[in-house]
């Protein structure tokens, strides 16, 4: 598995894609000749007018102009496709796939024409009703949870369209539900209460708070179940929590520090931050906090150069005031990012938007986020707000032109010495002379999974990941962090942006109907820089 720091970086990347709605793909070039075709059916009859798209799984929201609409017989053909890894999926909000796997992964080579990528759809059923409060007034814009029971959870169409929510009359309508049994609920479970504008206690149809007493709703294809109404109790109001952020040395208030609240302890739970900052008097506040054990924390910030230990508190049955968060001067790291073996600093300038992050080894760091800062044109950076402990560095890029994403941090040096185990940091320390040595990831793996004893069922799914096999286990070398390799329905996979070295390919086979039987197959592979390594992985399904 990838390290947690990497995961955090991957999150940053993913979120940024969402934030800017990145477009990784421009109009298809005319000379691309690959294509995908198939048929969309309902009860073995073709369905016309369904849009089928080929999405790039690495481009966040997966906007794609590779799309086609089914003809009168339900046939579609997507053409002029560039080689690459795609997910083929019908975009048909009024329909749901008959089985659980909706999208199909495909590795497409130059000029490839993949046929019979077929989809079987059903209309599904409808559940509708009205949500009212204790005074009989409609509850407006309240999320309604329509949960399939006794089956594998699948994203419903309404969920894709922004979730099921009541309108201004308190009415909700969930459609394209795969036939089966459903539980309908409104409100939040007690252990998930972090507060909000209005918190209702989790209430199930027919207006019961005990899930064991909930009535399940049977949905049939094209059936409509109406009057699934729920009356809620009084909303919970929660309690107000206030306090102050002060400088531990001077006792003076610290303004403009962003803070958050964490429910649980440092090894588990959930955190949230409204993005609010302490005011001029250093004050912070949380409204409507439900009973529970919490901590206040401050978010690392490049402007304030301070950090603080978590301050725990418990909410029982009253407001809490007078909490004091004491800031200390945090450590700073001054350094530079350089390419391995390249003296010319302009190589770094060409990378554009490259960010350096430092992840502390404290458990809290997982919840409060890590410091990150953009490097200067000469590769230099200054990271502040770091927690004491062992810091591991990471890189993240906001450029998606296919070059900078394939970078790896090869080595962290301090004053010319390699620091394979990270750098130990104390509060207020000014650490200088750090060099982050990076290299481009130029190796790639192209593979084929062969099932030796039979065929995978229609619903079987395979996942793949690489494990670094190396003499120095802490070596950060590895796979490009943007890539989440996929195995397609023909058993093919491509992993790009791999550093030269020896890896273990891991392939797991899942079948939704038998989750307990996940099987993992391993194979060693040696990848060279600037080369494509071909590999065949043979698997046996029978023990």
């Amino acid at each position: 598995m990838v390290s947690s720091a990497r995961q955090a970086i991957a999150c940053v990347l993913l979120i940024f894609i969402v934030a800017v709605g990145s477009q990784s793909q421009v109009t298809p070039a005319k000379n691309d000749t690959a294509g995908v075709s198939g048929k969309v059916t309902r009860k073995n009859k073709g369905v016309p007018g369904i849009v089928v798209a080929a999405r790039d799984p690495n481009s966040g929201y997966g906007r794609s102009n590779y799309r086609a609409t089914t003809d009168q017989s339900g046939n579609y053909r997507i053409s002029n496709m560039a080689p690459g890894t795609y997910q083929i999926v019908p975009i048909s909000p009024g329909w749901i796939s008959e089985n659980e796997l909706f999208q199909k992964s495909l590795v497409i080579e130059d000029g490839d024409n993949v046929e019979n990528v077929n989809f079987s759809l059903v209309r599904g059923g409808v559940i509708t009703g009205k949500i009212t409060d204790a005074d009989g007034k409609p509850v407006v814009e309240e999320p309604v949870f329509v949960q399939p029971i006794g089956g594998v959870y699948a994203v419903t169409t309404t969920a894709m369209l922004g979730g099921i929510m009541t309108d201004d009359r308190g009415i909700y309508r969930a459609f394209a539900l795969r036939p089966g049994k459903y539980q309908v609920s409104v409100g939040q479970a007690d252990n998930q209460l972090l507060g909000g504008s209005r918190v209702f206690r989790q209430t199930f149809y027919p207006s019961v708070t005990d899930s064991a007493k909930a009535t399940l709703i049977e949905v049939t294809d094209q059936g409509e179940v109406s009057d699934i109404d729920i009356t809620l109790g009084r909303p919970k109001t929660g309690f107000k929590v206030t306090g102050k952020i002060v400088d531990s040395e001077t006792g003076k208030p610290v303004a403009n520090v962003r803070y958050g609240i964490h429910l649980g302890n440092e090894s588990g739970g959930g955190s949230t931050s409204s993005g609010a900052s302490s005011n001029a008097n250093g004050e912070f506040k949380f409204e409507r906090v439900m009973p529970g054990k919490y901590s206040v924390f401050i978010l690392p910030d490049q402007n304030t150069e301070v950090r603080a230990d978590w301050v725990p508190f418990e909410v029982t049955d009253h407001d809490i005031s007078g909490l004091v968060v004491k800031t200390v001067r945090a450590a700073s790291v001054f350094g530079v990012v350089v390419f391995e073996g390249v003296e010319d600093p302009s190589a770094i300038a060409k990378l554009g938007n490259l960010y350096v992050t430092a992840m502390g080894d404290r458990l809290e760091a997982r919840f409060q986020g890590s410091s990150f800062v953009r490097i200067g044109p000469d590769g230099s950076f200054k990271l502040t707000g770091l927690s004491p402990g062992v810091a591991n560095f990471g890189l993240t890029s906001r450029t998606f032109d296919g070059t900078t994403k394939q970078l790896a941090l090869v080595r962290v040096e301090r004053d010319g010495m390699s620091q394979p185990n990270g750098i130990t940091i104390k509060d207020a320390e000014q650490i200088t002379g750090v060099r982050l040595v990076i290299k481009s990831l130029t190796g790639s793996i192209r593979g084929q999974v062969k099932v030796e004893d039979g065929e995978l069922t229609e619903n079987a799914r395979m996942s793949i990941w690489l494990k670094v096999l190396d003499d120095t286990p802490s070596s950060p070398r590895g796979v490009n962090i943007n890539s989440s390799p996929q195995i397609d329905s023909r058993g093919r996979f491509v992993i790009e942006g791999v550093a030269g070295g020896t890896y273990e390919i891991n392939i797991a086979v899942f079948e939704p109907s038998r989750f307990d039987t996940s099987r993992i197959f391993k194979q060693q592979v040696t990848v060279a820089d600037n080369a494509v390594t071909e590999v065949t992985v043979s698997i046996k399904l029978k023990p």
């Binding site: 979120i15 109009t27 009024g94 814009e141 309108d167 959930g270 993005g275 001029a280 402007n303």
Partner: protein
């Protein structure tokens, strides 16, 4: 659950990071003032039309120069809210509720508040537009995005998806005229089935023949059905170039000549591509904008494109920095003690805005560009900077809170190369801002000793108050004939009461007459010398003169209209 929550924090960090840049600029200003000034609150209540309190309305305030709310609160069961810990500044107040909408402001009342204010906000149940989207065959169009835009502002106000019956429902709409459309407008976030189509406006057409739907607050407009055209839209694509370093994300906006807009995000880099899908035939303006690390914006000069039955590709947009004007608010205190108790003027509550000249050149820019140059408050030392000004001609408007002060003069260094050290009267000459200009030396002088005038219109027998009656003050001294800042105007209320405040001492002619077109705003434009001269002739003929001494508060003034 756990992971999702910790992701949220990162999301917030990233989403607010653009504002964080802006924040850096203001931090140095605020730290200075926090050492001298105390924070305060703005409180209030929100009620619905029948006077009943409205709970769960989100109230927030924002200074003009920040995109981030300074403070927010939800109303309680009594409709009350309290926004605490606010630093002295000028705030705009906003209220949001999913079903209710704020009553539009009375004409002439500005959305600005200061700490200590108590505010009563009235919200009314918004209007509803509902209907069904169907294919040509009569089949429902399921999961298509339906959007509404206000005709008056061209701004998109709401969007919802159709359900399995093709039914959509848009609610909480302020009163006004709307156009409603389904599909099209693919760009950021969208990967939907209908985003690549041309938009279909209700009832079944492109924008130019769309039905305008009249929505009244509280009313439900039903059967606003859309017969979906289902034709593929065109693609508009190109690149954004920038020689500016430290760009943090680019947005490209496609603004149709006849309303609505389509926005797409572009990943940052030196040269990056953008694609907009589902574009209908028509005339458009393309504009790219981006935040720089300094907190200032860069935009591309507007590019006109024409979509005619084919994709438009290879459009090149080049980011250029916007201009800024910086300067100082200077206080001129009275030396004498004739005014008695001194009323301090809070510099940080002084708000200055740059208004652009609404000429032909201004129309070349999409409307939103003019909104980028937000007003700015002075800091505790009186320094201020007006950023993000698009190329154009500007004049300056100053607002402040303190009865005994008046706006005396606004000057700016001459732009003429021959006279670099000379200053000019910025109230009588437009200030020209070009791409990337950094103009400094704006000087706004506020003087102590303002006079005020209040009283009553005295009607002759059988005389009735005219509609939209205004009272005008025009400088009577010959040498002050075109002193722009000495022209004042105020509406006469329904009972004939008049109130004029913050007046410069001096001799004036008073004139009561129906509001002149364009109001005081027009009267104070640099190039309206003729309008001012005309009003002055009219006032002079009326022969009603008054002399206002420093700090003089004239009350119970009786103005006869019949003689005029």
């Amino acid at each position: 659950m756990m992971k999702a929550l910790s992701f949220n924090i990162l999301a917030i960090l990233l989403l607010t990071s653009s504002h964080a840049f802006a924040q850096v600029v203001s931090t140095s200003q605020t730290t200075n003032q926090t050492t001298r000034t105390k924070t305060g609150s703005i409180t209030g209540t929100v009620v619905i039309e029948n006077g009943q309190p409205l709970r769960n309305a989100l109230i927030y305030v924002r200074t003009f120069s920040s995109a981030r709310p300074a403070q927010s609160a939800m109303t309680d069961s009594e409709g009350k809210f309290e926004l605490n810990g606010l630093e002295p500044s000028t705030y705009q107040i906003f209220a949001r509720h999913s079903v209710y909408t704020l009553l539009p402001r009375d004409e002439g009342t500005a959305n600005n508040y200061h700490i200590g204010d108590s505010v009563k906000l009235v919200m009314v149940k918004g209007g509803v537009i509902t209907g069904t989207v169907t294919m040509q065959t009569g089949e429902p169009v399921i999961g298509v995005r339906v959007r509404a835009a206000a005709v008056s502002t061209n701004e998109n106000v709401q969007e919802r998806f159709t359900d399995d019956r093709g039914v959509y429902r848009l609610y909480g709409l302020p009163s006004g005229k709307y156009v409603v459309w389904a599909g099209g407008g693919g760009g950021a976030y969208s990967g939907g089935a209908y985003d690549n189509d041309v938009p279909t406006y209700a009832p079944a057409s492109p924008r130019d023949t769309a039905a305008e739907i009249d929505v009244r607050a509280g009313d439900e407009t039903t059967n606003v059905d859309i017969r979906y055209r289902g034709e593929p839209g065109r693609i508009v694509s190109g690149t954004v170039n920038s020689s500016i370093s430290g760009i943090s994300g680019v947005l490209v906006t496609l603004t149709p000549a006849d309303g609505g807009s389509q926005v797409v995000g572009v990943p940052p880099g030196e040269r990056q591509g953008f694609v907009l899908y589902g574009v209908d035939d028509g005339e458009y303006t393309l504009t790219a904008r981006s935040l720089q690390q300094s907190g200032e914006l860069a935009i591309s000069p507007p590019k006109r494109i024409s979509v005619r039955g084919a994709d438009v590709t290879g459009v090149e947009l080049s980011l250029k920095p916007l201009g800024s004007v910086s300067g100082q608010v200077v206080l001129e205190e009275l030396k004498t003690k004739e005014c008695g108790m001194r009323e301090p003027l809070m510099l940080t509550e002084t708000l200055v805005s740059a208004w652009h000249k609404q000429d032909e050149a201004a129309k070349a820019q999409p409307k939103f560009v003019w909104g980028l140059g937000a007003p700015a408050n002075a800091d505790a030392q009186g320094n201020l900077i007006l950023q993000n000004l698009a190329p154009g001609n500007y004049y300056f408007v100053t607002r402040f809170v303190a009865q005994s002060w008046y706006l005396q003069s606004i000057s700016i260094p001459s732009a003429s190369a021959q006279e670099p050290k000379k200053t000019v009267d910025a109230t009588r000459v437009w200030t020209t801002v070009k791409i990337g200009d950094r103009i400094s030396g704006l000087k706004i002088t506020l003087a102590e000793g303002a006079a005020s005038l209040s009283g009553q219109i005295e009607l002759a027998e059988g005389e009735a108050l005219a509609e939209k009656l205004f009272i005008y003050l025009v400088p009577a001294e010959k040498e002050s004939a075109d002193e722009v800042l000495r022209f004042y105007a105020a509406p006469v209320d329904s009972e004939g009461k008049i109130t004029l405040k913050n007046l410069a001492p001096g001799r004036y002619w008073l004139l009561g007459r129906p509001a002149i077109e364009g109001g005081l705003t027009k009267l104070r434009l640099p190039d309206e010398t003729d309008s001012r001269a005309k009003l002055r002739r009219e006032a002079e003929a009326g022969k009603t003169e008054i002399e206002l001494k420093p700090c003089q508060n004239v009350t119970d003034y009786r103005l006869k209209l019949s003689g005029q």
